[in-house]
């Protein structure tokens, strides 16, 4: 499986590339699900694979679809490799690691939009420049969506419309994306015609 191909979209929607090995004192990898494959593909391109692994810290969690490639990553022999059970349990560890990270650290984010967006948000918040952060999308395209009405975030949204997990309104999923919130925007679909909610369609898998 390789990098996800998305159709062209509006300009707030994040764009993703392909991870490339870069020179750096420390290589911090944050990945979920199929993102593990992006990490091994990137290492396969490294001129000094052993040197890179000796300075690499991998933080990984299974994807929203259950894909768990921890064993593959653990077998690489990176300096540190940690498996968190979920994204919410991964983030505090990332924050702690960031508090010690120095300029010159290279960041590699791979996997789903929810994981990449939240990791990028936390890395940017510590002041690291965006050009030291690479992102590659792989795996599930389910979305993290913020309800514009109650501000609650619903994770792993697959259908459009969907029901907000906080306030219960039926929301349609926009492409408008906030990097600060690391989420797409959800807006009430039957606001003008209360009760007229079209059947949900699976748009994100």
């Amino acid at each position: 499986m390789s990098k996800t191909a998305f159709p062209p979209a509006i300009k707030s929607r994040p764009v993703y590339g392909v991870l490339e090995p870069r020179p750096g004192a420390v290589h911090l990898v944050v990945a979920d699900g199929e993102g593990a494959g992006a990490v091994t593909d990137m290492l396969a391109k490294a001129a000094d694979r052993a040197g890179m692994l000796a300075a690499m810290h991998i933080i990984y969690t299974p994807g929203p679809n259950g894909t768990d490639q921890t064993a593959m990553l653990a077998a690489l022999g990176a300096k540190q490799c940690y498996r968190a059970p979920t994204i919410p349990t991964l983030l505090p560890r990332l924050t702690r690691v960031l508090s010690d990270a120095h300029m010159g650290t290279q960041f590699y984010l791979a996997g789903t939009e929810g994981l990449i967006g939240q990791a990028e948000r936390d890395i940017m918040a510590t002041g690291f420049p965006h050009h030291d952060i690479q992102k590659e999308h792989r795996g599930s395209t389910v979305r993290r969506v913020q309800c514009v009405h109650c501000k609650g975030i619903t994770e792993n949204v697959a259908t459009d419309p969907f029901v907000c997990s906080h306030c219960g309104l039926s929301l349609f999923v926009r492409d408008h994306y906030s990097r600060r919130i690391a989420a797409f925007q959800g807006v009430n679909i039957d606001a003008e015609d209360p009760g007229q909610v079209p059947p949900p369609v699976v748009r994100f898998t």
Partner: protein
């Protein structure tokens, strides 16, 4: 010190009216004549429509940098109500405090200069004395010392100034919307957009990106000089004189879009015009963006024959993608049918003034 309003003065000029519930908002005959009708020709499409924000015709909304009109007091009361129910409508990222002071200075100096009967600013070094008579405010504070005001400087001054405001920080050759007071918006969310870049917050707009409008607008703004503000118009449609058409409360006001009938349309349907101005700020180098909303009821606007004819033609011929984005596609045909009664087919003169 608090910012409680102490009303009473000048209520012969400032209208006592509401923008919610019973919707008693209306324009006086003089208010209609000075309404900023945004169409200078019989059709409309997005363009890089910017001109210097210099004093315009006497009595018009362009006469002063910050127009204070008959709706001032009631608008400020409405803003206070919105903020009481949702404080997230005013936000400022921590690095924007200096820009807030810049804006406070800009507005206080302009209002005291342009409307001395209502506003007075006296300075003794950094010790300032501000009097806002229509709202009954009389405060002494120290310029650049946050602890001497009841709110941050940005919130303090925008609770006393009509129109929404955003403050843009300039970094990496881009503008970042890092603060805002947004309670009279045409359906966009500050809470969602805060922290975005120029292209990101404009992402939902159709057609204009492809036309290169935002590339040119951003280039132009990055060169904006202190003391040389610019302005532009934007417009949309709103049912009822509701200032606060926020996405947050869309389930509350959305159903009103289905309430129009041929009989009530002229009374309920409003043209919503935004007079937007951009100011480079001196200390912070940020750019202040003011978005002043004027609401004109269809019945009021067609009392100016040229505007009745023109509004009919603009709405009839509008690009459907633009009408859909602005949220009035479902009522477009009904508006055109109503407005047709005010278009006799006579030619209209160029420019937006009532008659020329």
């Amino acid at each position: 010190m608090s910012l409680d309003f102490n009303l009473g003065a000048f209520n012969d000029y400032f209208r006592n009216e509401t923008f919610r519930d019973d919707f008693t908002y209306a324009n006086s005959p003089a208010g209609i004549r000075r309404f900023p009708f945004p169409f200078d020709r019989d059709d409309y499409m997005y363009s890089v429509n910017m001109e210097p924000h210099v004093p315009g015709r006497k009595g018009s909304v362009f006469e002063h940098a910050f127009d204070v009109d008959e709706h001032y007091v009631s608008e400020m009361i409405d803003r206070a109500k919105v903020l009481a129910s949702d404080p997230l409508r005013c936000q400022s990222l921590p690095h924007m405090t200096l820009a807030g002071w810049d804006l406070l200075e800009l507005i206080m100096e302009a209002k005291a200069r342009d409307y001395p009967q209502w506003f007075t600013l006296t300075k003794d070094g950094n010790r300032w004395h501000w009097i806002n008579r229509p709202l009954g405010i009389d405060h002494h504070f120290t310029f650049l010392d946050d602890s001497t005001l009841p709110y941050g400087p940005f919130e303090y001054i925008t609770r006393q100034t009509q129109g929404d405001f955003t403050l843009q920080d300039e970094r990496d050759n881009d503008l970042w919307m890092d603060a805002g007071m947004v309670t009279s918006q045409a359906d966009w969310s500050l809470d969602f957009d805060i922290g975005m870049s120029f292209m990101e917050w404009h992402a939902p707009v159709p057609l204009a990106h492809e036309k290169g409008i935002f590339d040119r607008a951003l280039k132009f703004l990055l060169k904006l000089q202190h003391g040389a503000p610019v302005r532009r118009f934007n417009w949309t449609m709103t049912v009822n004189p509701l200032l606060d058409t926020a996405p947050e409360t869309y389930p509350v006001w959305g159903p009103t879009k289905t309430s129009l009938t041929p009989e009530n349309l002229g009374q309920k349907q409003h043209l919503r015009v935004e007079l937007q101005a951009l100011f480079r700020l001196p200390r912070s180098n940020a750019i202040a963006f003011s978005i002043r909303c004027y609401l004109g009821r269809f019945e009021e606007l067609v009392t100016i024959p040229k505007w009745g004819r023109r509004l009919h033609r603009v709405i009839r011929d509008i690009n459907p993608d633009v009408a859909a984005y602005k949220g009035f596609l479902r009522n477009r045909d009904a508006m055109v049918a109503w407005l047709a009664g005010y278009d006799d087919g006579a030619p209209t003169s160029p420019g937006f003034w009532p008659e020329d």
